[in-house]
């Protein structure tokens, strides 16, 4: 299907119907990962390392196995195959399966507190707990390193003796640096030398957790012939299937993964933690095994995103034209390589049309839980530095902060610092909308300040599959391979209904398991509505073609003589014959006579994802004596391409913005002197609560992506990027102090106000 040029013809797309899975979710019927049980299910639990870094000398599980009710214990040495270091394109980003296997279950060393060492399956939770206490693990405790700069320093404890850094000359000695990346355009140093004004700053962020409310949960059942059922909440049933197969060396066809409803992911459920353990335990015990993480385990042992340190330099002419810019950043990867340092560098200056720019960074391992993706991985971190520096630059130039950004805004034809040239993008429209929004010019009171910041995310396409089936009565079933986290079933049904010309309520979408639908990449990277939507649209179009053929057969005319309009076959013109329109249901009723059931499945690798841009305006009031920051007003403007279901698009923006506000103000990973996480609960890992926030106004700018039939760009990633700097810039405006380190918690703000520097 080509791009729909005229949006005013749309009947379903752009409306706000109730989601099809809604009633299940407001009545408590929806089945999340921990809600299913099977007859004879055992409880599985994970024994985790109390040490930040230690060699595993021995594991003796004999006492645990002797405890009545204990059915299996698994360890890496005893039950997991040792697999080679294989960097493979799995899911969305490259994955090293050896590292993943070692993260799921430590083999020779534990690399962080909370690292899984063994797993137990028992008839009750209490027996599993008792069994864990009976497993005798002998550790040789090693020195550890938590912080990124300390991990890069000479003499730092080394996590992986065999780590060979990429993207840089071999250091000739063991290192914790896994990778160096650099992106260059023009000559950044020369550009900075031309500047009338230069700002430079060092900025720091801490690790923050995705904070989904549903802990990881899985139930797995393995039969003696190897056939395996997995029911789990994740961002990708196919991801689980592939990773379990790799880690446990199983045939993919023997693994069927059913996606449970998922209680939030935000990138944190794009890899496996419990699934291979549950399968290994079930295989050994011969019974289904259910495993559910505690909140403490979620914080200690599942991925946060990186913290990092960076230096940002931006130079500009007096008129605001940026002449040169650099960022040097080092990101924590956690215990295994893989921080989002590349996208952090690529996104850093992507909002701007710059001729001379350099972004470079290091991926650094340390004794923390391995990081996982979190909404626009890497981008919020570098954006915090860059957009804070942009604010400083505007101040130095005496320019309006939005005007400075308008002056340098990326547009169609801008060559991005990371290489490619932008096609039609909506950043200028976003900035215009922000500037003309009443919020930008509203008055402020004492101790109040306003900040603005922007953000960019690529958005992605990739593998997606969808099926559209016409039922006997003319209703429609849609199956897709994308787990629905934020309402995507509604979007799939809406797009199918639009193409087929039937009411939304006549289309019922489900998320298929791995045996019911073709391979589909994970729900993440803001790809589902774009890529799986494209597959759904194409499948629906094939069905329309078939419906036209069937109508032609019934009318006994040529298929070319049939058009499809508003859910009915109609003769294409006067020459086709004088037939009354034939509704879809009438064609469906005769499907048997005209060639059999009607349906189609489309599997694609979706291309043409459209980049997204946002600009957020934030007002704060700062209690100058206590450093408490109150968010008074918040407006998030974003180019969304075309909003299929505007309510869920707004919801993505509002939710992303609030996650960013939490990151800015209070969320952080704290470690004690033994390298153990000190705040592994929602009491002291402080995500925003309802009373912390005002309404979040989402302003949708629609600059359609013409590579999608309905103009969709991804929307879920961009909104978490601007808040960090938007809040920091507002705090600067309210207090006169520039905060360089996240979170901007009250003690830090008070100290900054008192010392005059943050």
């Amino acid at each position: 299907m080509n791009f729909v040029a005229n949006f005013s013809d749309l009947k379903v797309v752009g409306t706000r119907p109730v989601r099809p899975d809604g009633i299940d979710k407001v009545t408590g019927k929806a089945m999340f990962g921990a809600d299913l049980s099977m007859a004879g299910t055992l409880t599985g639990k994970v024994l985790r390392s109390p040490h930040a870094h230690a060699r595993i000398v021995s594991i003796d599980a004999s006492k645990a196995l002797a405890l009545p009710g204990v059915k299996a214990v698994v360890t890496a040495a005893g039950d997991f195959p040792e697999i080679s270091s294989e960097e493979a394109a799995a899911g969305e980003s490259p994955v090293n399966f050896r590292h993943m296997a070692h993260n799921v279950l430590a083999r020779d060393k534990v690399l962080y507190e909370g690292h899984a060492v063994a797993a137990v399956a028992a008839t009750t939770s209490a027996i599993a707990d008792a069994a864990m206490a009976l497993i005798d693990v002998t550790y040789e405790v090693l020195p550890f390193v938590i912080d990124v700069e300390a991990a890069m320093a000479d003499g730092a404890p080394i996590l992986h003796d065999d780590l060979v850094p990429s993207g840089m000359a071999a250091p000739g000695k063991p290192t914790n640096i896994a990778k160096r990346v650099e992106f260059k355009l023009g000559d950044a140093e020369a550009g900075l030398a031309e500047a009338d004004v230069v700002v430079e700053g060092r900025y720091e962020t801490t690790a923050v957790h995705q904070g989904y409310i549903e802990p990881h949960a899985v139930i797995a059942s393995v039969n003696p012939d190897g056939q395996t059922q997995i029911f789990a909440s994740s961002q990708g049933q196919f991801m689980i299937r592939q990773y379990v197969s790799k880690i446990l060396n199983m045939d993919i066809a023997n693994i069927r993964v059913t996606p449970a409803e998922i209680g939030g992911g935000f990138g944190g459920k794009t890899l496996v933690y419990l699934e291979p353990l549950a399968v290994a335990l079930s295989r050994k015990a011969g019974k289904p095994v259910k495993m559910v993480m505690t909140r403490d385990e979620v914080f200690r042992s599942s991925g946060p995103t990186s913290g990092g340190v960076m230096t940002v330099k931006i130079g500009a002419k007096k008129d605001g034209t940026i002449t040169g810019a650099t960022i040097d950043i080092a990101l924590q990867a956690g215990a295994f390589p893989g921080s989002p340092v590349a996208p952090a560098c690529m996104c850093a200056f992507a909002c701007y049309d710059l001729k001379n720019v350099r972004a470079s960074g290091y991926d650094v391992v340390s004794n923390r839980s391995k990081i996982a993706a979190y909404r626009a991985p890497g981008a919020p971190i570098s954006s915090f530095g860059v957009e804070s520096a942009m604010d400083e630059l505007a101040t130095k130039l005496g320019m309006d902060a939005l005007e400075l950004r308008q002056k340098n805004a990326a547009k169609a034809g801008t060559k991005a610092a990371y290489g490619p040239v932008f096609p039609e993008i909506g950043f200028e429209q976003v900035l215009d909308a922000a500037k003309s929004h009443p919020h930008w010019s509203a008055p402020l009171g004492p101790n109040q300040g306003r900040g603005v910041a922007t953000g960019f995310w690529f958005n992605i396409g990739g593998d997606s599959s969808a099926s559209v089936f016409v039922n006997e009565d003319g209703t429609i079933s849609v199956v897709s391979g994308s787990p629905d986290i934020g309402g995507s079933r509604a979007s799939m049904a809406m797009m199918a209904a639009e193409v087929l010309g039937v009411p939304y309520e006549k289309v019922r979408p489900i998320v298929g398991d791995t045996a019911q639908i073709g391979i589909t990449g994970m729900t993440g990277g803001s790809r589902v509505t774009f890529a799986t939507g494209m597959a759904t649209v194409q499948a629906a179009e094939k069905v329309v073609d078939e419906l036209k053929k069937r109508a032609a057969m019934i009318w006994d005319i040529s298929p070319e003589a049939v058009d499809w309009k508003d859910g009915e076959a109609v003769p294409a013109g006067a020459n086709a014959g004088g037939f009354d329109p034939m509704p879809l249901a009438a064609i469906a009723a005769k499907a048997g006579k005209t060639g059999g059931p009607i349906g189609s499945e489309v599997s694609i690798n979706a291309q043409g994802a459209g980049a997204g841009f946002g600009a957020h305006i934030c007002d704060v009031e700062v209690d100058q004596e206590t450093g408490h920051v109150k968010i008074l007003r918040y407006t998030a403007v974003q180019d969304v391409g075309k909003a299929i279901h505007p309510s869920y698009v707004e919801g993505q923006i509002q939710g992303g913005a609030v996650q960013g506000i939490g990151w800015a103000l209070n969320e952080e990973y704290l470690y004690d002197k033994n390298g153990r996480m000190d705040n592994s609960g929602f009491l002291d890992y402080r995500v925003p609560v309802a009373s912390d926030l005002p309404m979040i106004e989402a302003v949708l700018v629609e600059v359609p992506n013409k590579r999608h039939p309905f103009g969709v760009r991804g929307v879920g990633e961009v909104p978490i990027i601007p808040p960090l700097a938007a809040v920091a810039n507002a705090i600067k405006a309210a207090t006169g102090v520039r905060m360089h380190s996240l979170p901007m918690s009250p003690p830090k703000i008070v100290a900054a106000i008192e010392s005059g520097k943050g």
Binding site: G263, F266, R295, G486, G487, E650, G651, Q659, A690, L693
Partner: protein, 160 residues
């Protein structure tokens, strides 16, 4: 090992179960009574996903022992709708798209119902503070608060 026998009332129906002393009421609801609408997000009273009412009072079921339910009246998300008729709050949550993943939704609905029982005309600030113990990571709370305020207005009969 003998378990403790508990007789209670859940969503207006008599219910009995056997439990260990350390079993939380949330464990019992989910594992014994198969009422899995109440969710466990933290197990420490910090997220509100397991919100229920106990003798009419809003509590976290993860912070109540199963044995304490003896002789009490329990209300869960499964009892919010009146048969096949959704409670106005459930309807408004759907209309306002006040849920994304839906995991925190049962707890939020139970907590909001308790709010409106106690205060049919809350201000936005009152609603936000009452619901501060119900974490939602998806929505940023905006649409939830709008749904709550709209449902409250409708329940007061202020809608045309």
């Amino acid at each position: 090992m003998s378990k403790i026998h508990v007789t209670t009332t859940v969503n207006g129906e008599p219910a009995e179960f056997l439990c260990e002393v350390q079993d939380s009421l949330l464990d019992v609801l989910r594992d014994q009574l198969h009422l899995t609408g109440s969710k466990e997000g933290c197990g420490s009273g910090d997220c509100g996903a397991c919100s229920i009412t106990l003798d009419g009072r809003l509590v976290c079921s993860c912070l109540v022992l199963g044995v304490e339910a003896e002789g009490k009246t329990i209300g869960t998300i499964e009892g919010l709708a009146n048969g096949d008729e959704l409670h106005p709050l459930q309807r408004k949550f759907l209309e306002h798209a006040a849920l994304q993943c839906g995991f925190c939704t049962p707890g939020l609905l139970v907590a909001t119902k308790a709010l409106l029982d106690a205060n049919p005309n809350p201000t936005e600030t009152e609603a936000r503070y009452w619901l501060a113990g119900n974490l939602c990571r998806c929505t940023g709370y905006d649409k939830i608060i709008r749904a709550v305020m709209d449902a409250a207005a409708e329940m007061r009969g202020e809608h045309a």
